[in-house]
């Protein structure tokens, strides 16, 4: 967050939050607020809400490319390992079989490709989401324990010095949000 952020009572404002009871209300509110020009928003939900990424205009996750690269690296490393150990470092005659053959190397290459791609998917998910982290401003929200239970939260995030927290709070109220609260951080 930049230094230009608004100071409210000596504290910086992270954003303004409001609670919604159903995915339909949340999605309607997001559409309304986006029409009124609020662009920097995030929603917090206890389960994945269908259509939420589209409503907030999030880009499709690039994790797939990440996992693909890791998978190819895994397969390549496996072929190299099997070739080098079998044909270079320790060429052992077993039943007259060739020291290296790509056909017999496929199972291990497949397994290492899957292993590395899976790690890439999980660690990539955490990395793109900046997790793990110990704290976040939205955890201050008074009803936060409902947000991982059955309620949904919409936050209009501060976008710098021009951010008007009162105007954002009014907009959230008008869009049907309950328990509107300014989050510091």
């Amino acid at each position: 967050m930049s230094r230009a952020d608004q100071i409210a009572g000596g504290r910086r404002v992270y954003g303004v939050a409001a609670q919604f009871d159903s995915p339909a209300e949340l999605l309607a509110a997001i559409r309304e607020l986006r029409e009124r020009g609020h662009r920097k928003m995030d929603a917090y939900t206890p389960y994945p809400v269908h259509g939420l990424s589209e409503a907030l205009a999030l880009r499709r996750s690039a994790l797939g490319w990440f996992a693909l690269a890791a998978g190819l690296a895994g397969a390549g490393a496996a072929f190299l390992l099997q070739w080098w150990t079998g044909a270079v470092a320790y060429p052992l005659v077993v039943g007259g079989k060739p020291f290296f053959a790509w056909q017999t190397s496929v199972p291990v290459a497949f397994e290492l490709a899957v292993l590395l791609a899976s790690f890439a998917a999980v660690l990539g998910m955490l990395g793109f989401n900046r997790l793990p982290r110990l704290h976040h401003p939205v955890f201050q929200y008074v009803n936060w324990n409902r947000i991982t239970d059955d309620s949904l939260l919409l936050v209009i995030e501060s976008d710098g010095a021009s951010f008007d927290a009162d105007r954002a709070a009014e907009a959230l109220c008008a869009a049907g949000g309950r328990q509107v609260e300014i989050l510091e951080g």
Partner: protein, 452 residues
Amino acid sequence: MATLSQPAETPLVLGEVTPADVTRTVAGIVERRAPRAWWLAFAFTGSLTLVFVGMLTYLVTTGIGVWGNNSPVGWAFDITNFVFWIGIGHAGTLISAILYLFRQRWRTSINRAAEAMTLFAVACAAIFPAMHVGRPWRAYWLFPLPNQWSGMWPNFRSPLIWDVFAVSTYGTVSFLFWYLGLIPDLATLRDRARTRARQIVFGILSLGWRGSAHHWNHYEMAYLLLAGLSTPLVLSVHSIVSFDFAVSILPGWHTTIFPPYFVAGAIFSGFAMVVTLMVTARWFFGLHHLVTMKHLENMNKVMLATGLIVGYAYAVEFFIAWYSGNPYERFVFMNRALGPYAWAYWTMVACNVLVPQLFWFRRIRTSVPAMFVISLLVNVGMWFERFVIIVTSLHRDYLPASWGMFRPTWVDLLTLAGSFGLFLTLFLLFVRFLPMISMSEVKAMMASGEAA
């Protein structure tokens, strides 16, 4: 798949259930004090686990001769138990990955427990080959690690080393998949925590998850990727396990039908184990509205289908042995059905082929006591299938001079019993400390109106 797909009129979540009810029901189980019956079960399975530890200690300190393995039966209970436990795990991955890709919404209430079952089954399985090597303190030689003999490496042309990679990858990826699914539910437990200790533990385990739209965007992609990666993985694991046998030249093992036959058998036995465990957990924790008869009936249908595939494989093995005209092949299969281990063979056929036919009847398919007994019998049958494949093929090979018999020792029998102790203890700890139903997935299904 038409019979598996969800008819709109059968609800997957029964009654007027709200998302808050789901949280209360599922999180409540791990937040209340453990019921007395849980402690009794834990005392029993914990004791069995100690038997397991005792038997393994006795084995390691004395030597592999305490088992009944001999020449020619060099693979016996150890490898039977290994293949059995690996197979049990396959249902978990099938439910969490393959049914996810097929959009089978009924998997949602049972996938978490099935995934946990996979992990614990793989843990039990991995112990057996490590002990089977005879000097388990050198089991790390299985991995291609730089070593003091500078330049000695595993033989990658052997399916046994493929197995090391397949099983260790399977265990690791199953853990990642299971943990990924747990993260949102761990955050729910964190936010419900009343004690400092629970706040800290679940705060760390949930990795700071807050369910933001950005989180879910990447999370759902990661979940889809893992499902897509686990699907070929689970098929590869039992195929590679079957290569341990099929790539050899022993009559009874040297068969091209093994990979699909092993995978179908694995799914068959795994679903039997999921039914055994879920029927018990559902009755014990009162989860009838989340794990409905629809779930149980669908699992019984999968058992019926895979049981038929397994029965077909048994028949084809016999046909090919006859059709090949190879006297050794013919002898091995006649010996299976009529030789000294005929009792094991017919136990296998009765449990795996005949008993599941009862599932053709809807009344039996939807009767909890009936499915519980049948699922137990299927587990018995599938253990005997691996025993029959391994022991009957080894004890009569080409030369009558090298024929022998395998008789399990008390150590063999107690080690097998003990592995069940470890498996059940881990499962009891899981249902006690972690949410056994995926709350976020059930809620998502309810919110999108697919539950009713």
